[in-house]
């Protein structure tokens, strides 16, 4: 099965921002236009926000690479035989395709990366591997990185407004930290058993 990144995020209205908010869970991605905005809670997971500067549309993904035993010193492209690498690069491709489908032009894309914190010492490497993959992917696709707020020990709550390009990073309450840990633990169990492999159809 392919990663469960196609589930539709929950949508609510935020009266402070006066905007409709799409709330992303780990493994999801979405692209919005108009005044809509996207929010997510990040622990060691990474979210990449990509925006078409000319159109004012933008999207976000939210992913984590499954833990693996190989060193992170080679380029991710040479590690595509690993399910974790496939999973991360697919999260990037889905987001970029989502933008192109809504009329986005890659030459006008601008990206920002968030997350990848080291919340628990024994998975501290995961955060930095997630950040490295996102950065290398964007570099390879020639998409400029406008800004990033990554790493550290603390989780994040981010709000992305594609219309303006603004991203607000908020401090997290202790109850939200609990939610993040629970979400990410559940998600990381799922992707460990997920082989990151789509179906193959033969037409004759």
């Amino acid at each position: 099965m392919a990663p469960s990144s196609s589930h539709v995020p929950e949508v609510y209205y935020d009266s402070r921002f006066k905007r409709t908010v799409h709330k992303l869970l780990p493994g999801q991605y979405t692209v919005v236009s108009g005044r809509d905005m996207i929010m997510t809670l990040l622990g060691s997971c990474v979210s990449v926000c990509i925006r078409d500067k000319n159109l004012g549309i933008g999207g976000m993904n939210h992913f984590m690479l499954a833990e693996d035993n190989r060193e992170n010193n080679s380029n991710w492209i040479e590690m595509y035989d690993m399910s974790s690498t496939r999973y991360g690069s697919n999260a990037m491709e889905l987001l970029i395709n989502g933008l192109i489908k809504k009329g986005g032009n890659k030459n006008h894309f601008e990206a920002k990366i968030f997350g990848g914190a080291s919340l628990i010492s024994n998975i501290s490497l995961i955060g930095s591997k997630n950040i490295a993959l996102a950065k290398e992917y964007l570099k390879c696709e020639n998409i400029s990185l406008a800004n990033s707020d990554v790493g550290g020990k603390f989780p994040r709550k981010i709000f992305f407004i594609p219309e303006t390009g603004d991203v607000y990073v908020k401090k997290i309450t202790s109850s939200e930290t609990g939610i993040i840990l629970e979400q990410e633990e559940k998600y990381s169990k799922n992707i460990k058993t997920d082989n990151a492999e789509g179906d193959i159809y033969f037409f004759d």
């Binding site: 491709e93 395709n97 192109i100 789509g198 193959i200 159809y201 037409f203």
Partner: protein
């Protein structure tokens, strides 16, 4: 003689991944970043197999397959779609346009090589 593969994908990352995967086992690979560039390569080469993405700017994968199927040098080259799209409706479009195999990304490199072997012989 090594078999000649045309790989069409707007993602530079995917072009690199495929390049590494296919060259390792001896395929001769040409790449294009959209359907338009791919059509220009059809004029210059005769391919044993074509692997193409679907969502691409300028000319998408389905339109590209349709032109490849009418191209004098390459109309018999089997076509494999390699895409993030998995809906039945899109697959039907691919089949109608003349694709032989539909692979949903992310793909396992060893599985792709198996499919290529089956298709190219």
């Amino acid at each position: 003689m090594s078999k000649k593969v045309l790989f069409v994908d707007d993602s530079a990352s995917m072009r690199k991944v495929l390049g590494i995967t296919l060259k390792k086992v001896g395929y001769d690979v040409e790449t294009a970043e959209d359907g338009l560039e791919a059509v220009s390569l059809l004029d210059k080469h005769r391919f044993d197999v074509i692997v193409t993405d679907l969502n691409m700017p300028n000319m998408n994968g389905i339109e590209f397959i349709k032109s490849a199927k009418c191209h004098p040098n390459n109309k018999f080259a089997p076509i494999i779609m390699l895409t993030t799209e998995s809906s039945e409706e899109m697959r039907q479009q691919g089949q109608d346009a003349g694709a032989k195999v539909w692979i949903v990304k992310p793909f396992r490199p060893d599985k792709l090589l198996d499919v290529l072997k089956k298709v190219v012989g």
